[in-house]
Symmetry: C2
Subunit: 259 residues, 2 copies
């Protein structure tokens, strides 16, 4: 069409040339074939590197040294790819030995380990985490960021076997997921990761003086506001949550003390 430069050769292999360059192997062109897992892993890598918005099927293909359409052999479409990314990250957490190390050291220990495990993956993949937080889960009561039935079962098991009533365990699950989601979503977004365009070569840290004139308190506290106490706050909120659950547990044990 627009390729009127030069004679109409039958060798316009643009993508193929790139592919060849990428694999850069001798005459025997053994390229390990793609599979779903490799595609998903590459997608995580890509999102971490360039942000979620930059991920398109064609670019994903290029990232893997392949045409975009090749991906459709392994995922049914873009949505499936994104779902797969979420699933893979959640599984990565499930395989984390730190989390499962000592499930019988009490439920509080377990919830601590789990929370820190989730925080670890949020920090490891800050651009992926909003996906985990936002994508609608399979069942509406499987709440992000613990988006799998395995985790849900594991969580409920840990609590009910330690004396939580059914209702208390479910309430604890809800409080726990809310806490994790709120805290970690804000933490990863605060760490200046969003990079909406493909690259943000110049930081834009103005807004400091002009527009803050009308907000004296904000201006005065802005150094405090911008420094990062996420870790300590996470710890403190988690501690507080666990104490609250402890209280719930105690009260759910006796039938009704009085009011």
């Amino acid at each position: 069409m627009a390729d009127d430069v030069g004679p109409p050769r039958a060798v316009p292999d643009d993508g193929a040339a790139y592919t060849r360059a990428v694999r850069a192997s001798p005459p025997g062109p053994v390229r390990t074939p793609l599979d779903r897992r490799r595609v998903l892993a590459a997608a995580i890598e890509f999102i971490d590197a360039h942000g979620l918005e930059a991920l398109t099927m064609r670019r994903m293909g290029a990232h893997l040294g392949v045409e975009g359409m090749a991906l459709y052999r392994h995922v049914t479409g873009r949505d499936d790819l994104l779902d797969g990314v979420v699933e893979l990250v959640v599984d990565e957490l499930y395989g984390d030995p730190e989390v499962h190390l000592a499930p019988q050291h009490g439920w509080q220990d377990y919830l601590q380990r789990l929370a820190h495990g989730v925080r670890r993956i949020a920090i490891a993949h800050p651009a992926v985490f909003p996906l985990i937080a936002t994508r609608p889960p399979a069942a509406p009561w499987v709440r992000p960021p613990l988006r799998s039935l395995r985790w849900l079962e594991s969580f409920l098991d840990a609590l009910t076997t330690h004396g939580f009533s059914d209702g208390a365990a479910v309430a604890a699950y809800r409080a726990y997921t809310s806490f994790l989601l709120g805290h970690l979503l804000l933490e990863v977004s605060q760490r200046g990761v969003p990079i909406s365009p493909l690259d943000d070569p110049e930081g834009t840290p103005q807004l400091e003086d002009r527009s803050l004139a009308a907000y004296p308190l904000v201006r005065r506290l802005s150094p405090l506001l911008s420094d990062d106490e996420s870790a300590a706050e996470f710890e403190e909120s988690l501690e507080n949550l666990l104490e609250r659950l402890q209280r719930v547990l105690r009260e759910s044990r006796r039938p009704r003390p009085a009011t």
Copy 2:
């Protein structure tokens, strides 16, 4: 001018036909011109009705009885439109008399009113709320869902004038936003609103039996898991947060009691 079709008000869903009808009107076709606010309000309406993913510039145009490109007179692009939507919703909250009614009844009262106000808009615009939660704010320390300097100033003012130290006020701000975001994001997503495709005529509530076989606890508790205690949980978590802040306030008043 023989084809004077009906009055060109009241926006139906078919954009093209509507546009044609409007244009075909006789020499005196007084149509109230668009303006930014009307565009943004229509966008909120559209998102509430069809979900965020369904919003495209052309469809937005059709919804307003106008070609898609007409919108670019009032917003610089799609991102700006979305930012404007967020801003408008946040302003809607700021104008809510329920919130500002009694700022001098104590900081706890204020935080209660504010929290309920935010919850009200989250529930009123469940499909818009994730936008508020997710879109990167102007400054990184302006945290969703209180995404405006006005709110931030107001919040900090309420606390510092009631005895909070600077550090305690900022910590309270962080804890408060985390709580709101986590709780409300999960609440609106649980209310089955997402509708990723334009319409979801058949609910797909299976998954009940087959795949739950491996998760006995989940199955047993699934009735508990699926009923909606959001309001009560919100109340309880908020109460708990306020108590925690009260404790912080008390302790920040004496220099250091001991440990």
